[in-house]
Amino acid sequence: MVGFKNRYMVMEVLLDPNKEMSGDDSIVITQFNISKAIKDSILVNFGECGLASSLRSFQVKYVNSITKLCIIRASRDEYKKIWYSISMVRSIGNCLVLFNLLDLSGSIKACKTAALKCDELKFEQYKLMVGARLSVDVIRHMQNCIEKIKILEH
């Protein structure tokens, strides 16, 4: 039996709420910079001890820079603190951001289902916004991301 449990959070990153609604972003979110921002936030809010105990299971598993979706894993004991720290993140690099939780699940399977659904819906919205400027690259990138979700494992 698995004694160690995780929580998987599907979050969306809302970039720079003050900017115009265009398709261009001021920053590309990656696993690295999200992870760094969250760790800094945990350090500020919960200190060294908090950071250390969260770090064990903390990982940014998936990031989609087009739809601004990310999947973050945390241990079941520490997930609330990590979630709180994520809410407290104000900026990534120089860009103001806002994290919003979309789904919280206990298994990677449920998380994958939720993430696929959210990703597709968000991509629809993205297509609406971008309109005619949709490029083939973007579509291909999306396909890759969808594939990535499907092969995620704990």
């Binding site: 003050n18 609604m21 609330k80 104000r90 103001l96 979309l102 959210c118 629809e124 919205q125």
Partner: protein, 630 residues
Amino acid sequence: MGFFDLNIPYTDSTPLSKANSTVAKSTRIKIVIKAMELGYTGIAYNRTIRGVMSDRDRCSIPLLGLSSLLDVAPFLSSSVNFHRDLLGVPRSSPFRQYTRLTVCIDTASQSQALNSGNPILKTYDIVAVRPLNQNAFDHACEKAEVDIISIDFSDKLPFRLKLPMVKAAIKRGIYFEITYSDLIVDVHQRRQIISNAKLLLDWTQGKNVILSSAAPSVCEVRGPNDVANLASLLGLSMERAKAAISKNCRSLLTNALRRKHFFKEVIRVEAVSSSRQSDSEIPLYADWLKWDPISSGEGDLLLDDMAKSFSASTNASKTVKAIDFDSIIDKMPSHGFQIKDLISGSEASFQPQTEVKSFLSTPQPIELSVRTNQASENSIRHDLFPETDDATLDNTCSEPLTSAFGDPQKLYLASYATKTSTGSEEVVTDTVMTEIESETCNASVAASGSVEAENQGLQSKKCYEQNFVLLNENVNDGLNAVMLNEEVISHQTSAMDIELEAAALEISPPSESSVETIKVDDIAVDMDKERQETTASSLNNMSSLENISERMSLRTSEDDAVIVDQISRQQSDDEMRVKDDSLVPNHENQVLLMEEPKLAEADSSMNDLGSVRSNEPCMKLSSRKNQPQY
């Protein structure tokens, strides 16, 4: 269950700083859009004042309309739907806007002002107090008639929170507010807030606690789940934390709005729209079952049509204004209403109607909104149209006012105060009403009176007389003159109110409470009498109208034109409530309402005329038989 954020700061723009005001306005719009996108179903604009209240502090917060939001974020609807689905909020529940006042209290004399007789407080939906010292806090917990006690936790508290005080406040039904945006903004304040708020939460266990952002800008708003997590870190269970942003807010709003709209918290009088057809399949009482206790009147933004029309949704909020007794009392004539005035008024009102007839293509009052093409915004209730572009007319305008006597035992007196814009009150409202009335086959009479705004210097006459007259008249006059006044309508928010209300009692500005009491009693007595008379027939328009008219004197002997054209609105709050008020049997208010004879019954079947309801999911147009016709 919807999520609410009841503290979005509103700073009134002083004329000196024009630049600031546009910035502030755009910030406000962005915050509202973000809140909507994150899944909130209601927000409240919070104005903070300190010290003594003056008449200038009356509510003048403009409510935003759908089109102004869509201008900034054209793809709002898809985002909103996405988040609402994730949160489990029904897609079609309207987005509500409320107005709130926070009074900072220092001294005992300021505390005395926070009682239920204060007319300025009545112009806001929610009243909050921020005590700054121990005495003020004690007074607020024990005696002040407010809805929320909001404590600034971000600094060392100047007073102690005492458990008996807190318990006393909870017993009286007052809510404590914790704001979370300071947690996000400043690291140092986080410590203070967490330690102070934890104490409060430990004592109350989350009961009667609400969470809200006091977000100075859009970056400080967080989604409902995130906010609930914040609270759970402060010591609440997740269930209580979620309740703090949803259930507690909702019950707070129910209480606050009930206090505002119901006389002595019990009786509510409304105009019944006259457009209701007696042969409609929908039983009259069906509307009462759909009464929305937390409707914010014109502030409700229906999101159903967002996808259909980005720019101009023709949502018409069918809200019926409740009678504001404070304002009515003064205007109540001491010698009673006289029928002759009524009749003379009515004749005059016909003239404009004939011209209008040609314009009316369909009997739908909604046409108005279509015509104006402007905004589908909900009418701004209190406003003098700071943004003329956003003139809301439509929603309210297009509501057909129809009164029908569905239930002979009920007389709804609807009065609404409508604000009149400064000059151009060619309000067609009257004509609208007439139109609506003409719609009704059954010529139900709606007693309508409009509350006049004394401030505007509009003739106070507008009042009910017109409505009465119009209502009585039949109805088959064709479409409303309202159609005519497109331009006019566009300027007037008042139009919306008036149009919606078939009947309104003219209500004068508040005078003494004693007078008020007497007047109200008179009305009640009158109603009783009328009720007896009208019990027999379902459409007892004329008789009841006459009864009423006997008791109500028409002030406007003079301008019939005015009658037709202008409706003054009172600055105060009366909301227009959709006539969907449902008679909830277990609701105490409803019971009392039942007992009151009603002049006209608001017809939720304004839908008949195709008006879109702004209210609640129960009023979903899609589900209703009568679809608005555009």
